[in-house]
């Protein structure tokens, strides 16, 4: 009697379990993928291309930028993560260390396409000699200048500033054009914008910005002080519009496109935006310089693609990662849509031929750096981070040395956590 009762309970359970398993396999053809909202457009282009040529279809979901990493962390903990994720590369170290991502070393180290993969992506996606992801939709910081204003100020519109000092000099000449014209612009309350366009000036000058652990160097090198000091002087001399102090990123792009700014740091995304909205705008694209001529750098940004552990469709997800580096994906998915390729050997392709600006941006990608640190959000991206506090204290309050020292102490404290 008792046994039959147990059986009566157990049988439907087993049946239900089997059905559940069967339905899972039936749906296995559809892969889920998350992408942060601001990288959703290029991500969709890539996924569309994949879906056209593959049986296994990928469903892309855009998640608001400020929620993506939280959702990713919580979903992995809850065992409910998507099959693929495309996220801000800067979070790679945190996720790799936590063991949230599948190890892709075996398939990538034997892949010839991986050899020419942009160095910065290789670097950020490697932890203790294991590889956990590849660059997906790239972005990189560049220097832009308004050729029209250069001409008016008597400067050669084809020669950009080659050092931070030259930026200051040229900005002075452009600022002299009139009350409504400014030599330089940066978004003074935007931590992310400045790690993107201001930190490369320091790095190009030989500085080391963010500490990897509590014993590492932080804000080390003369260039940190010099860059902050030049910014401070430009601010005090009125070469930067006053609205810059409170710009939390709203005008990071639109300040330059308004046409009254001589020189600014920007990103590769500006190129397609200009083409769409201001096709007549006459501007130049160059690399962010350092202290001496010939020193250049860039911040490599954009998204990496990785596979959260424990997904049901890992095999297909792995195929997708390999495919991202293939000629097809790089040329027809990225280059054709005026997006940079993440393989250096394909930077010179038919779609980019004759487009000087895109080629310059590709160059920046090849020389660019990306800081490999834990707690990037805490150290840099948050609105009260030591990074943004340092910039504001040094540039707007005028205390350069104190600002560096204070920020260094806090960065080291965060890094040692």
């Amino acid at each position: 009697m008792r046994r039959s009762k147990t059986l009566a309970v157990a049988l439907p359970l087993v049946a239900a379990g089997l059905t559940a398993m069967m339905t899972t396999t039936a749906f296995a053809q559809n892969l889920s993928m998350w992408v942060r909202e601001s990288a959703a457009d290029p991500g969709q282009l890539m996924v569309d291309l994949w879906n056209q040529t593959h049986e296994a279809q990928i469903e892309l979901t855009a998640i608001p930028d400020n929620q993506l990493v939280t959702k990713l962390a919580t979903s992995v903990r809850a065992g409910d993560a998507p099959d693929l994720i495309s996220f801000d590369l800067i979070y790679m170290p945190d996720f790799m260390r936590a063991g949230f991502l599948a190890d892709l070393t075996d398939q990538l180290s034997s892949d010839p396409n991986y050899e020419t993969h942009v160095e910065a992506y290789k670097d950020i996606a490697t932890y203790e000699d294991r590889i956990y992801g590849v660059g997906f939709t790239p972005d990189v910081s560049i220097l832009v200048w308004n050729k029209e204003l250069f001409r008016e100020a008597g400067l050669d519109p084809d020669v950009p500033p080659k050092t931070i000092y030259e930026i200051h000099e040229m900005a002075t000449q452009i600022g002299a054009l009139g009350d409504d014209t400014y030599g330089f612009y940066f978004a003074g309350s935007c931590p992310g914008c400045n790690i993107f366009v201001t930190s490369p000036l320091m790095v190009a000058g030989g500085a080391h910005i963010l500490p990897r652990n509590g014993e590492d160097a932080a804000l080390e090198g003369e260039a940190v002080r010099v860059v902050l000091d030049e910014y401070r002087m430009m601010w005090e001399e009125g070469l930067i519009p006053e609205s810059a102090e409170v710009d939390a990123g709203e005008n990071f792009v639109s300040a330059f496109t308004a046409g009254n700014i001589g020189i600014a740091g920007s990103g590769g995304f500006l190129l397609s935006l200009m083409e769409r909205q201001f096709p007549e705008f006459d501007y130049g694209v160059g690399l962010l310089p350092g202290l001496e001529e010939g020193q250049v750098s860039a911040f490599v940004g954009g998204d990496v693609v990785a596979i959260p552990t424990g997904g049901a469709n890992e095999e297909v997800a792995r195929e997708f990662v390999t495919w991202v580096l293939s000629d097809e994906a790089q040329l027809e998915g990225l280059a054709k849509n005026a997006i940079l390729t993440t393989r250096t050997d394909l930077a010179d392709n038919e779609y980019f031929a004759g487009n000087e600006k895109v080629q310059k941006t590709a160059e920046a990608l090849a020389v660019g750096y990306v800081p490999w640190v834990f707690h990037f959000a805490d150290m840099v991206n948050s609105d009260s981070s030591p990074w943004i506090n340092m910039l504001q204290q040094a540039i707007f309050d005028g205390d350069v040395d104190g600002a560096i020292e204070e920020a260094r102490a806090r960065m080291l404290q965060i890094a040692s956590e």
């Binding site: 909202e37 979901t61 608001p64 959702k71 979903s75 792009v253």
Partner: protein, 298 residues
């Protein structure tokens, strides 16, 4: 009818003698003018949002903006309807979670209210305070342990899980309301039922339930509005786009690319999220306000 729905606490028939305020005819006009001004001021944001949602997308994004639409269009509603997994998925999620929250609240609060109002239980006051005390705990603080607990129980990303969180928020008030409802019923009715040989459960079902129905409507109404609107728990517990509720979807609509927000669609989303609450409020106004007051004044 119980004290909960007494007319003195009814927003529609608020019964205060004019003499309390008094005043001459000219004061009356002044009061009337002030009332009109306040009505206009309070309604303006919603009306403007509604009008903006009906503008064609380009007009809604126009700088500088215009108060009134020059032409009408449902394009913004179409955008919202097709947002990611589709508006109806999110509305359905919100409705399911709200319905479950209502059921949980009623299932727990009706018997608890009955027991607290009618039974001599040891430590009754302690138990009652215990249930009420959770109202004093900032629930945002509880989200971390709840989250960890739910991820072990596989309750994250489920309607039941979020409904449980919403029930945690709403239970104290629900129990309080139900206790008051049961207390408002005359004892004689119960005694008569006992004479007829009814069991405790039968009394609850046949005698009390019809009488505490207004209280139950109030509990449901509050649970619905809270659950439909709740944001931070939904944000943390629901991480799949197919499991988002309406408020979480709204924040998705509000983050554009490089600051380019689709304002028209955002306002359409606001209107969609607001209409059910306003509808329910207007329909069941008396229950809402009376419930609020019975919870407040005692």
């Amino acid at each position: 009818m119980t004290e909960i729905a007494s007319p003195a606490t009814n927003i529609a028939t608020g019964a205060t003698d004019a003499r309390v305020v008094g005043g001459s005819r000219s004061v009356g006009y002044l009061v009337g003018a002030l009332c009109l001004a306040i009505i206009a001021l309070m309604l303006a944001p919603l009306v403007l949002s509604f009008l903006a949602s009906l503008k064609p997308p380009a007009e809604a994004a126009a700088v500088p903006p215009q108060y009134l639409p020059r032409s009408l269009s449902l394009a913004n509603y179409q955008t919202v309807a097709n947002y990611q997994a589709g508006l109806w998925t999110y509305v359905a999620n919100s409705l399911v979670v709200a319905t479950l929250t209502i059921l949980f609240c009623l299932a727990l609060a009706v018997p608890a209210g009955y027991a607290l109002a009618r039974y001599a239980i040891p430590f009754k006051e302690v138990f009652f305070l215990l249930i009420l005390a959770s109202m004093m705990i900032p629930y945002q603080a509880m989200l971390t342990p709840l989250y960890l607990m739910f991820s072990t129980l596989k309750l994250t990303n489920t309607h039941v899980g979020l409904a449980i969180v919403h029930t945690i928020l709403q239970l104290p008030f629900s129990v309080y309301l139900m206790r008051n409802s049961f207390e408002g019923i005359p004892r004689e009715l119960e005694e008569a039922a006992v004479m007829d040989g009814c069991s405790s459960l039968q009394i609850l079902r046949r005698v009390f339930l019809p009488l505490v129905l207004p209280g139950m409507v109030t509990v449901s109404l509050f649970a619905f509005i809270m659950s439909w609107n709740e944001f931070i728990a939904a944000l943390i517990f629901m991480s799949r786009e197919t499991s988002f509720t309406v408020p979480v979807m709204l924040t998705g609509v509000s983050t554009g690319i490089f600051g380019v927000v689709d304002w028209g669609a955002l306002q359409a989303g606001v209107i969609v999220s607001v209409v059910p609450c306003i509808g329910v409020y207007l329909l069941l106004q008396r229950y809402y306000v009376s419930g609020l007051l019975s919870g407040a004044v005692k």
